[in-house]
Symmetry: C2
Subunit: 236 residues, 2 copies
């Protein structure tokens, strides 16, 4: 049996509590299940959608890790976020019916494509779904406020510390260790997200290692002193 054809119901998906509203009736869950058009694999390096592509779906990440990035007219690149299992991407496309950023898999991934027209139709009938969609978009707006604060007023050490804490916290809430993590992105991609150059990321990692705050071996990061990181982000 080809794994790709298995239809895993939302009801049985271990990401459900992250990407679906809670407290749905069985009937409502079934209807959402029907809405999910296709589950698809995206190989590392492939794009799930790209700038200029017609918008039709939101995507729920089942497994894997993505980055989203925009490119300005003159070729500047900016990573706007890193997304992991249970998170929803594609909302940039709603406003103009075209995506305005690229979503690239940083490791092999599986996603659920959810036709947005059907999300809208169903959320007219299932209040919890409607409110959930609003919350997801609001959450993204608030997250971006935080990134603006980081980009607008933090120094390199503070940015990287905040980045590591955020990643660790999100991984932890998915059942992974809160102190050990594997970076799925390059130093350059971290730098782009944080508004820094890759050399600065590298140097800042080295300083953290010197100070005994983290241990770094390639993309394996071990956070040795969480509160020191927190003190860097929020100097008293």
């Amino acid at each position: 049996m080809n794994y790709e054809t298995i239809k895993i119901a939302c009801a049985n998906c271990n990401m459900r509590e992250l990407c679906m509203p809670i407290g749905l009736t069985q009937d409502e869950l079934n209807r959402i299940d029907e809405m999910i058009g296709s589950r698809r694999k995206v190989k590392r390096g492939e794009t799930l959608f790209h700038n200029g592509e017609r918008f039709t779906n939101l995507y729920a990440i089942r497994t894997g890790f993505f980055k989203t990035c925009i490119t300005s007219e003159d070729g500047r690149d900016q990573v706007t976020g890193f997304q992991m299992a249970g998170e929803i991407i594609g909302m940039d496309g709603i406003v103009n019916d075209y995506h305005s950023c690229d979503a690239v898999a940083l490791e092999d991934a599986e996603i659920c494509a959810m036709p947005f027209a059907q999300i809208e139709a169903l959320s007219r009938e299932v209040n919890a779904l409607q409110h959930h969609v609003h919350k997801i978009m609001s959450r993204e707006i608030v997250r971006e406020h935080g990134v603006m604060l980081l980009l607008g007023s933090m120094r390199a050490e503070e940015r990287l510390a905040a980045f590591l804490l955020n990643l660790a916290q999100r991984l932890h809430s998915r059942g992974f260790s809160q102190s050990e993590l594997i970076l799925r992105m390059t130093r350059e991609e971290i730098g782009s997200y944080l508004g820094l150059k890759l050399e600065t990321i590298s140097r800042t990692f080295s300083r953290f290692v010197e100070d005994g705050i983290v241990a770094v071996k390639q993309r394996h990061v071990h956070i040795l002193n969480t509160s020191a990181l927190q003190d860097i982000v929020n100097p008293k």
Copy 2:
């Protein structure tokens, strides 16, 4: 008759095409009218809502000018946006039922408070309203992507040039001159938004004046050479 009590119907509001979906029937428009709870004045310097306040409404700006800003634990301040007539604010509050930023009037303003619960209820029945709400939130997400690009990869001149062009464009689409504008915010607030210090804003303005790109007299800005500004934003 007290002006504050006048109820101006959405149907007659000259901001309608900016904050409302187009193509509504008269009946739908009337229902939206009923939804608008209160029209209220906010004096310059007053806050419309603030961080930590319970979220109940979205607000449509009828007249006036606002800034939204967040404050980090250690007291850092970041202006996350400037909003003008026809724009909707308050969407940060949806995700947690509490606002996570402050909205401060930079000039005397009038707003329409729209109870979000009623927006949700009505948008279950009026498809155009539902889609409009989604588009507004998506637009905000995309706008913030642009700010991230600006903060993450632009130099001071580029940031200020992009800021001025954006302001001028938005004012122009509201029927104002596309070359003359009055800044409603201080240099410090511009700086906060652009991730720069007020001295840098001041110096960059001076350089633009030297180069004959703009004329500046206090908060009155006259854009003399739009394409020069565009070249600064997008160096070829």
